[in-house]
């Protein structure tokens, strides 16, 4: 189990990791996800020991390892560039850490053989990395990590050098490996699809802080804030600026500039009135052509995929995206009326914090 407690990192005066708390359980596949520059790599390198930790505690299996050197932490890392040594064969690359420790050759060969078996690299052991395909290089890089029998394996955007078809294949491959090795994995990516498909636990990072952490479906269905709501899920959640008012006790009125006007039960009257944001995923807006919806808007873009149709409606600059089942024969310029599925809506305050989750609206 790995624990980060209020961990911070400064580059000069610039604080890039601003007090992060994360726990990853044994055997979990944890994915750190966030936009480029949010500090994912920095955080991973701090766990690996390649960057110092300026404040807070890093605890691995109950032991504080802030000041333990990288090779003594029992942590292995797979680099984005793979960092395979071009002057060594696959076998030498995989066995490098053992040969540094002066393990007898026969023992190195045995362990390299075992690892190669797991990774289906047995036939390539005598090749140089330059003579391997992208996927094979990736597997060699993983082999170099798992031969150390680490209690934690770190991956930094390992699939970003592969083309999209291979990426899908390697995603499945990595999950299979994770199941077989029962290893604890921390995996960094900027791609939320990778995060959603592979993670047991997602940690969403934004500007050096944890925006939210949890099971992928919890984050999808119940985001804590606007950032997570729009980051997780594709196409992303629509955010509509709305005005909240309380026309009478026990009722909350929600209006926007497009003519949307809904009444909600106010519950405990804890919600402040004024500006707020309504979050609706594209699949929770229903197109009705009879004019009976909650509001109507002009269609700007239509994408017909056959099994489903995506409409962009409203202002061309900042449109609302609607996902409709089947093939709709709507054209740009048409006016459609839309119904909001209130049971699936999220309400955020003007700072983006969630104030009403689905089902409670």
């Amino acid at each position: 189990m790995i624990n980060l407690r209020n961990v911070r990192k400064f580059y000069g005066a610039l604080e890039v990791i601003k007090g992060v708390d994360i726990t990853v359980e044994d055997g979990e596949f944890a994915v750190f996800v966030g936009p480029s520059g949010c500090g994912k790599s920095t955080l991973l390198r701090m766990i690996a020991g390649l960057e110092g930790i300026d404040d807070g505690d890093l605890i691995l299996n109950g032991k504080r390892i802030n000041d333990v050197p990288p090779d003594k932490r029992g942590i292995a890392m797979v680099f984005q560039s793979y960092a395979l040594y071009p002057h060594m064969t696959v076998a030498e690359n995989i066995g490098f850490s053992l040969s540094l420790k002066k393990v007898p050759i026969a023992e190195i060969n045995r362990q390299v053989g075992e690892v190669a078996e797991i990774l289906q690299l047995t036939d390539y052991l005598d090749r140089r990395p330059a003579a391997l395909s992208g996927g094979q290089r990736q597997r060699v890089a993983i082999g170099r990590a798992i031969i150390k029998k680490p209690s934690l394996i770190l991956f930094d955007e390992p699939l970003s050098n592969l083309d999209s078809a291979l990426r899908v294949q390697m995603r499945a491959e990595l999950q299979r490996l994770h199941r077989e090795l029962k290893a604890t994995v921390v995996y960094v990516t900027h791609d939320q699809v990778e995060a959603m498909t592979m993670a047991d636990r997602i940690v969403v990072l934004n500007k050096g802080i944890v925006a939210q952490s949890g099971h992928p479906m919890d984050l999808y269905h119940s985001p804590d804030n606007e950032f997570v709501a729009t980051f997780i899920g594709s196409p992303k959640m629509n955010i509509l600026p709305v005005m909240l008012s309380r026309p009478e006790a026990g009722k909350l009125r929600l209006e926007n500039a497009m003519g949307l006007s809904i009444s909600l039960a106010d519950g405990d009257a804890s919600v402040a009135t004024g500006e707020a944001k309504l979050g609706i995923r594209p699949e929770h807006l229903k197109v009705s052509q009879d004019g009976q919806g909650d509001f109507s808007a002009e269609v700007v873009i239509v994408e017909r995929l056959g099994v489903e149709t995506y409409l962009a409606v409203g202002s061309p600059k900042d449109p609302i995206v609607v996902r409709a089942e089947g093939d709709l024969s709507i054209r740009p310029g048409d006016r459609v009326s839309l119904t909001v599925d209130l049971s699936a809506c999220h309400l955020f305050d003007s700072n983006g914090r969630v104030i009403r989750r689905p089902q409670t609206l």
């Binding site: 090779d71 890392m77 680099f79 040594y85 071009p86």
Partner: protein, 304 residues
Amino acid sequence: MTDFVLARPGKSRRPDLLAYAALSLISAFCAVPFFWVLLASLDGNAQLFLSWPREWTLNNYVRVFAEEDGARWVFNSLFVVGSATLLVMVLAGLGGYALSRTRAWWKQPFLYAILLIRVLPPTALVVPLYKILLTLNNIEGNLVRIFFGGDTARAIMRWIGFIDGYLGLILVLATMQLPLALWIMKTFFDGLPRDYEEAAVMDGATMLQRIRRVLIPLALPGLAAAGLFAFISAWGDFLLPLILLSSPELQTLPLGLFRAFLRVNTIDYGFLAALAFIYLMPAVIAFGFARRFLVQTFSGGVKG
């Protein structure tokens, strides 16, 4: 070339032929001097103008080594230039790495400043350089004489003296070659991802293991290129040995060649050509060795 041919199958022959003709002409132009020197060196009666030898002989080469101090000159040249090259490779390897990895503010100014050494004509610097080296040499000589007797001291100074000693010439030659080598190595390391070293750190490699088993093998193409340039350029240097060396035992090949040319009686072209050909060989051989690395270095370095 192949793309060109495929794209325009009908017209391919003429431009191809033209290109080959032009290239052949240029190669011939470059090769003629070598050929000339080789022919003249094998001619028993070589003259100023090139002619087909009427009697073939190796006598000119024999004389370089038997009558003159040829072997000594070859050794001196190889030793001095080889040591300077080795020194340049070590310093450029370490310095290029540091310059590539540092974020210090003085990095750019420093890199441009050292190029000055290369840009200024050495002839202009000879007088102050000689003065400094002479002062150092005198101090060093006095110290050595305190610890050893006069004769031993003279023998020692031949190796470590700054003037009329191997060490001084080696240091000055290395200094002249270092800036370019540093630039080559800095650029080379810039293209080498840090991941390689960090992966080695994660695997538990000590600093020495990292240098020996990861960095040096990865840097080899760059080091070979830097070493090659240093060797060829230092090998061709004439001015510095001329000024810094005076003892006959320390003469290098270009000095031997120069002095043979200045002999009072008639100029012996056969002998000069043989000496010149011997002088050419190491540079050509060095180029042959390093060509492989050069292509790698200047076509994108190591791809992992």
